[in-house]
């Protein structure tokens, strides 16, 4: 059963037409990768789902309910979490405060912190430290942990491995893999082997449209289908 469905979604930045009729769906428990070159509309797709950049045309439904026209905080309250590509942690808040801000129910704070610290033990060591003073990798861990503690049914994950050292990428991949056992994910990731490893299905986006889709089990990262749309 589809948790998230996009049908004929058109999104603009001013006069620039970014998404030109995107159709995709994500089923319960799936990890779906959204691949494509830079600038084809992957991040815009996630922003459009969250109503940060609302669509001008098309329909977006989550568990059968339309998200179009809702305020972003109302979208989030329905169980959609966002791990943005540039981390967007609150640098002047401590690590713990960043996590607390993402936990909607005060009664869930202890369990949420336990989950975050279990996934990334380094964050527990740094819990009282201003998040802006963390290393890039630790900030990415915090951004992911913030998405995990939010009691979300669907996580929109944007370029989680971007700019990270290989060892940190492995930690991040493991955390996302563990999280995917409990939460559905729509994953934007340039690192194709990582995306294919984590995802059950994939969509390829080009020039604001879905141009290919399939099961990840049936393809490899050097498949012609990816080379055609992902190579520079």
């Amino acid at each position: 059963m589809s948790v998230l469905e996009l049908a004929g979604v058109h999104t603009y930045y001013g006069d620039s037409h970014i998404l030109e009729g995107v159709d995709l769906d994500v089923s319960e428990g799936e990890v779906v990768a959204l691949a494509g070159r830079n600038g084809v509309g992957k991040t815009t797709t996630l922003r459009t789902i969250l109503q940060l950049t609302p669509p001008r045309e098309g329909e977006i439904t989550f568990r059968g309910e339309s998200l179009v026209g809702l305020e972003t905080h109302d979208v989030a309250a329905r169980g959609l979490g966002w791990i943005p590509e540039d981390r967007r942690i609150f640098g002047q808040l401590t690590v713990e405060e960043n996590l607390r801000a993402a936990i909607p129910e005060p009664g869930d704070v202890a369990a949420g912190l336990d989950l975050a610290f279990e996934s990334f033990p380094i964050l527990e060591e740094r819990r009282g430290q201003d998040a802006g003073t963390l290393s890039g990798g630790q900030q990415q861990m915090l951004a992911i942990a913030r998405g995990l503690v939010g009691d979300n049914d669907l996580l929109l994950v944007d370029e989680p491995s971007e700019g990270l050292a290989p060892q940190i990428v492995a930690d991040v991949a493991e955390a996302l893999s563990r999280a995917s056992e409990d939460v559905t994910m729509l994953l934007v990731e340039q690192n194709l082997p990582l995306a294919l490893d984590l995802a059950d299905r994939f969509y390829i986006l080009d020039k604001g449209r879905v141009v290919d889709e399939g099961e990840t089990a049936a393809v490899s990262a050097d498949d012609e289908r990816f080379r055609r749309y992902l190579s520079a």
Binding site: A76, P84, Q92, A101, A102
Partner: protein, 329 residues
């Protein structure tokens, strides 16, 4: 002559008096500027109506005191009534602030900042004219301080108290107490409550905060209401201070030092505002002493405040604790 004045200045009694006066001025400055900095920090709105709303708070607090206090009211009862007036002024101005934010500020969030500046400046003109009309109806002089409100102050607050060799006014001690309570209250609200966490998160990145489920628009309304409520509470305190008093010019008299404190501290940082209020208050007290006792030119202390502002803008344009960009929606 300067050396004699310096020796006099460095005596325990004079220096102690200057420090207490400086702390009292700092307490007033922090009360005046806190609301302004909270509103700018989260919302990026420079509220030029802040001084006018402080002035409304002074008249509202004065009205409550004039109505409830008579010649025979005991001093402690007057003090208790004053605290009630502070709470009522805070509450009523908060409601007014919430109404202003939702009806006229909110539609301008997506416009350039000049729209909000012009709007709040226009609001100042409207508020001051309305107050003048009301005062005219009741036969009160708008330019001079409202003496009936000043007269509700208990006698002991007009008298000095000896702290060892230092003689200071009870009013100064009272102002320091209220300033300290205000700072402690705001700090506890911002750092110890869930809503304070939302405010700090929203002031850093409103879009990300909303994506975490935080209703940032509602937080904006609460912060604007809180900021205007603080202006009202500060106005009530100023109503009892003979150097300020409830009058229409109080709006401009409070807006300028509030902006100086907020800019010196760093736009939008509460910690910066507290430190800047101390810097500006102490500078004011020290220069006031010197220009009253060594150099006879009473206009200079105000000039020195602007000098502090100019030096800060040259040496550290973002202020003592400022970040390069705040607010955003």
């Amino acid at each position: 002559m300067i050396l004699e004045a310096l020796a006099d200045f460095l005596t325990v009694s004079e220096l102690g008096g200057v420090v207490v006066n400086g702390l009292a001025k700092s307490a007033l400055y922090v009360m005046i500027a806190s609301g302004l900095t909270l509103i700018f920090g989260l919302m990026g709105v420079l509220n030029f109506a802040h001084g006018s709303l402080t002035m409304v708070g002074a008249y509202l607090g004065g009205l409550l005191m004039v109505v409830t206090v008579s010649g025979g009211t005991p001093p402690l009862t007057r003090l208790a009534l004053f605290f009630v007036a502070v709470v009522v002024a805070f509450a009523l101005l908060s409601v007014l602030g919430g109404a202003i934010e939702t009806t006229i500020i909110r539609p301008l969030y997506d416009r350039p900042p000049i729209y909000q500046i012009l709007l709040t400046f226009g609001l100042t003109l409207v508020i001051e004219e309305v107050v003048r009309i009301v005062l005219d109806v009741y036969g009160l002089q708008p330019i001079s301080d409202w003496q009936a409100a000043l007269a509700t102050k208990p006698q002991f607050l007009r008298e000095p108290v000896a702290l060892g060799p230092v003689s200071v006014g009870w009013m100064a001690m009272f102002q320091i107490l209220l300033g300290t309570l205000t700072v402690a209250g705001i700090w506890a609200f911002l750092t110890k409550t869930r809503y304070g966490l939302y405010i700090r998160a929203g002031s850093e990145d409103a879009e990300m905060a909303s994506a975490l489920g935080i209703d940032v628009r509602q937080v904006f309304t609460v912060v604007f209401a809180l900021g205007i409520g603080l202006a009202g509470a500060a106005g009530t305190l100023l109503m009892w201070d003979p150097t300020w008093g409830a009058s229409v010019p109080l709006a401009a008299e409070t807006l300028l030092p509030a902006f100086i404190v907020v800019i010196v501290g760093g736009l939008g940082t509460f910690r910066g505002t507290v430190v800047a209020a101390l810097v500006v208050g102490m500078t004011d007290a020290v220069t006031t002493w010197w220009f009253q006792n060594a150099i006879e030119f009473t206009g200079l202390p105000e000039l020195v405040l602007f000098l502090v502002l100019v030096v800060t803008l040259i040496v550290r344009p973002q202020g003592l604790f400022g970040v390069e960009e705040v607010g955003g929606h």
